[in-house]
Symmetry: C2
Subunit: 454 residues, 2 copies
């Protein structure tokens, strides 16, 4: 480790230069800007280090699939994405978002934290490892998609086409993460799933004078009543069977959660709220956040939305809902139960216009792969990391890992003020250097674990 | 009557030219276009006939107040408006909206039906009456506002300033109306009132990642539940006391309603609906339309409304509601009951951001003033008119008439295909001529009624 660490430090300026070049290339999936250019640039950088790279087309952005053989036959999976969020509002940026700028030990650019910094930390780790040891200790499969920021909409096409590359993997190092507000390194082991539905109700063929509300059904009322039937002020989802498949957290998951610190005061202040939902606090709050299924109104739009008063009987109303799912809830089962529930409650006129979903995946903190990640973090960061068995958000973890039984851990180079998705996104150079060393340490820890098994 | 009718016919080309000149002047209240120019032009035309005209300023468009003395001390009130609706979508007009064009006996222009045609029919009637008889049979007070199409927002300032001019009036000839789809002339005697409220609920200080829905209140849910507490699928408004002050229609009002034809099939076809609310039909449908109070969602907006899926926990949600009120419901009482109800149901966090209201006013078909209007219609149109004790919509009838105990009738020159508020607004020249004669007939009928009383 010391020898490789020294190599990382010696070549740090080159690694930083490579990252800056990648950050200079816009790659905004939502706007279709620079996507193929970024895929080419990244493929070039991966090949330069020795990866065999395939650019796998999809109906959207291509997915990079990179391979490198190692000393052992076992293979590790890396998952990242080369796309970034849009930059609006541009006027709030201190430096141009695609002109990476180092100031006070921080590197500012769109994508620095989410997640080109993590990509190039991994690339640097491989390069330093190879320079010192000649080969990786185990094989590496690297999937880098270009649509993560728009919901990984075509990743399933890649998975379908390259299923074999995703089977029998030792574990996955997922994108995202870093240090929390108290500088503690944090590792997550999974993601909630999601069911996203668009509900629609229709009334007359066009908007009518609201005097007609006396005799013509208003679809906005229909949808209000339908939504009310889904969840009441007690917060419980009323769809029959919704909670039936929920698996309670294991003792190890619960212990990890107890050890994880959630900065309640800071979050309340940041969000501008007096209290959390239902007055939750402490362990109950953490359990709800991490292991609680939700039913959220993402959008509800109907009729007049301008200033002042305008009377109208709207012809149509659309609501968008997301259900964050926890193991073992399944999006397909929930949407079927939702349809049945709406019908049973008298809302067969309320249409499920379309839906999409991802399955949830929670990890086991006691899994030996997770344990290697914990030991690597302790070596590099000097303390035991916080372990989050599942993230409150959703990503394609089930798609890439869960369905193949591949355990996952997150590894990132962000910190509490990294401002991912916001103006002035940045990472600290020291976190980038530590992020490189963390991957090196993981190679060594996995190597040790596999060695013991021989 | 015959002598005056002959005068009307002899001078019809001049009357039409005057109307066309007025229709050439845009006067779009919503866009503030041509308002003062139109007020000046109209004042000029009124003065030319012999009216004493005052242009009464308000914080919005000025209100014209015109006076003419008659043989008797009693005075009649005319109410009209000189503003028109916007012309969008312009591409659907067959002729430019402010270049009045006669084609196939129809006059096409924005405002032809709503309601410059009615204004100039009245002006023509006064001119012909004066030319033949020398003076009007009774005094005339004429109020012509310039903001009807945007809710008569400053008319109350005029009423406050000129209250004395509105007291002790015999009756009011309101704007609007004409012939129905079966060519029957229709007279309305009042308007529903309205309470318009904007409800608002707030959550976090800004939109959050929807993963936070597990622990942060979503204001869209709060408003869904609050709205659900106002009205359920049975359609009954649940605000305590809402129906307490509702006065049932009198036998005469009910008889008028029974005689009024509502073209159910045509309306269902026009609106693109299979059935009316609650499957209503016949007399029950007419009663609900004309005498039923409503609670309508005009708008509900929160969170993401674009295509596809975006997860967000919205920070704020706004709903706009209108309650159409019937005698003797009062907007102020209803909004107070609404506030109490929300508090009692646990929604004190749901804010009534602002409200505005107008009181309802229903007329008595047996009132002698209304009877003069019926007789005048029978003389001019050759059949008994349909009588609507109240319109399903709302106008400032209580403000100008109701509060002073002035009975009202509507008189217009429109027909079923007049397309008020739409492209290709038009009137038929024969309806314009009949509209002039109808006002003459009303002068004579009122004169006869008052003469009997002497």
């Amino acid at each position: 480790m010391e020898e490789i660490s020294a190599d990382v430090e010696a070549h740090f300026p080159e690694y930083l230069a490579l990252l800056k070049r990648a950050l200079s290339q816009p790659s905004i999936a939502a706007e279709g800007q620079g996507i193929s250019e970024m895929a080419e640039l990244l493929a070039e950088d991966l090949r330069a280090v020795g990866f065999a790279v395939e650019i796998v087309p999809t109906d959207g952005a291509p997915v990079l699939l990179a391979h490198m053989e190692g000393q052992r036959p076992e293979r590790l999976l890396f998952y990242n994405h080369y796309d970034v969020q849009p930059v609006d509002p541009l006027e709030l940026w201190e430096f141009p978002p695609f002109e990476p700028t180092v100031r006070d030990g921080k590197l500012f650019a769109r994508g620095a934290s989410d997640n080109k910094g993590a990509i190039y930390a991994r690339l640097a780790a491989v390069e330093s490892y190879l320079r010192v040891r000649g080969t990786l200790p185990l094989g590496l499969t690297w999937v880098i998609e270009g649509e993560e920021e728009i919901g990984s909409v075509h990743l399933h096409q890649f998975v379908e086409a390259r299923k074999d590359a995703l089977k029998n993997l030792l574990g996955c190092v997922w994108e995202a993460g870093g240090k929390d507000a108290r500088e503690r390194y944090e590792i997550a082991l999974g993601c909630k799933g999601i069911l996203y539905v668009e509900l629609r109700a229709r009334g007359a063929a066009r908007d009518l004078h609201s005097a007609n509300a006396a005799i013509v059904e208003n679809p906005a009322w229909r949808l209000v009543w339908a939504l009310n039937s889904l969840k009441g002020p007690d917060g419980r989802v009323r769809i029959p069977g919704f909670y039936d498949t929920v698996r309670p957290p294991t003792p190890a998951q619960r212990a990890a959660l107890a050890d994880w610190e959630f900065p309640e005061d800071e979050v309340r202040k940041l969000y501008g709220i007096d209290r959390f939902l239902d007055g939750l606090t402490g362990m109950a709050l953490k359990e709800r956040l991490i292991f609680g299924a939700t039913c959220n109104i993402d959008g509800f739009h109907s009729g007049y939305g301008g200033p002042g008063s305008k009377t109208v009987l709207p012809a149509e109303v659309v609501a968008k809902l997301d259900f964050r799912l926890v193991p073992d809830q399944e999006p397909k089962q929930v949407v079927e139960a939702l349809r049945k529930h709406l019908d049973a409650e008298g809302f067969s006129d309320v249409e499920i216009a379309w839906w999409e979903g991802e399955k949830p995946w929670a990890g086991d903190p006691e899994h030996p792969f997770v344990q290697t990640a914990i030991r690597a973090a302790e070596r590099v960061y000097g303390h035991l990391p916080a372990i989050l068995p599942m993230m409150a958000g959703t990503g394609p973890v089930y798609l890439l890992c869960g369905q193949f039984g591949t355990p996952m851990i997150t590894a990132g180079v962000g910190y509490a003020d990294s401002r991912a998705h916001s103006p002035n996104e940045n990472i600290r150079l020291q976190d980038f250097a530590q992020g490189i060393k963390y991957i090196v340490a993981m190679f060594e820890e996995i190597s040790g674990w596999l060695g013991k098994g021989d």
